[in-house]
Symmetry: C2
Subunit: 147 residues, 2 copies
DNA sequence: GTCTCACTTGAAGTTGACTTGAGGTCAAGT
DNA sequence: ACTTGACCTCAAGTCAACTTCAAGTGAGAC
């Protein structure tokens, strides 16, 4: 049984130690014991963290993820939930694709002002009509602490 | 010059009045005057709001959107920025597609536990490796006040 | 005239996922 | 023995995009 301290886990998982403590507090992960004050983790936690990352990437909230393997230890992932999420994702993908096409068109549209381009105005109407689903993509990328 | 009061604009744009005030405070829209205390908007504000909705749908933040037509009145939308956002979107789309495929597979995978399915484990590794970009899709849908 | 009710303001609250800070502990290296 | 520095806890702060609240104002209906 390989024990890892929080720094090792953080490094291996690419997460901040504070995030691991936060996850533990939320019940998403568990430490296997302490060495002095310091948490020790079983190597299996890495798989669990990967699962969490997967869930997050798929659009599940931490609370939803927590429920997936809340009961005992083993994850009990509902296949229905998975396909539901999959088709939700599918919808998002379609919307984003439309958006991308619109942006691309607008970018190379010859009309002097975007407001004079019929395609742009069409997209505009679509957006205004709320046809495009609500979405918030936070680009948190590369926000690691610059030590 | 058709003047609309805040309620009319809110209704037409499908936004809460508080949102309009918030946008105005942020400089995203401007009221053309007041009738007593009450803001009056030019009908053109609706086009502007559509533009804002479009920007939001494309993944721009309100601050980014504000900068697009901050200077004068007319929007001066940079075509380079548009294609940049488009390819950014493209990346997101690809990630989400992979995610969706993975979820679908997992949903109908015959392995007794997901952890025993090689495909699932592959996705897991990808997620753990951070290959899947960070993303947060808040499903705020249908959150309109239930009056 | 007075009532009502949608509007006004500014401040504070909300949500999710964390991060940061202050003040404390302790295992290991010198 | 002592210092160091990574860890600890708990509370509070952050960010974005709003919403909610309390207290007040004024236009239009009666």
């Amino acid at each position: 049984m390989t024990e890892l301290d929080i720094a090792a886990v953080a490094k291996a998982a690419g997460l901040a130690a504070s995030t691991l403590r936060f996850y533990e507090e939320k019940g998403l992960i568990t430490s296997i014991g302490r060495k002095g004050l310091r948490r020790q983790y079983d190597a299996a936690v890495l798989e669990r963290l990967a699962l969490i990352a997967l869930g997050r990437a798929a659009g599940f909230s931490l609370d939803e993820i927590a429920q997936m393997f809340a009961a005992d230890g083993r994850p009990r992932i509902d296949r229905q939930m998975l396909s539901a999420k999959a088709s939700e994702l599918d919808g998002t993908i379609r919307q984003l694709s439309a958006m991308r096409d619109g942006l691309l068109h607008a970018a190379k549209c010859p009309a002097p002002s975007h407001m004079e381009c019929p395609t742009f105005r069409r997209i505009l109407r679509a957006a205004g009509a709320g046809a495009l689903g609500e979405r918030k993509a936070r680009s948190t990328a590369l926000k690691r602490k610059a030590s």
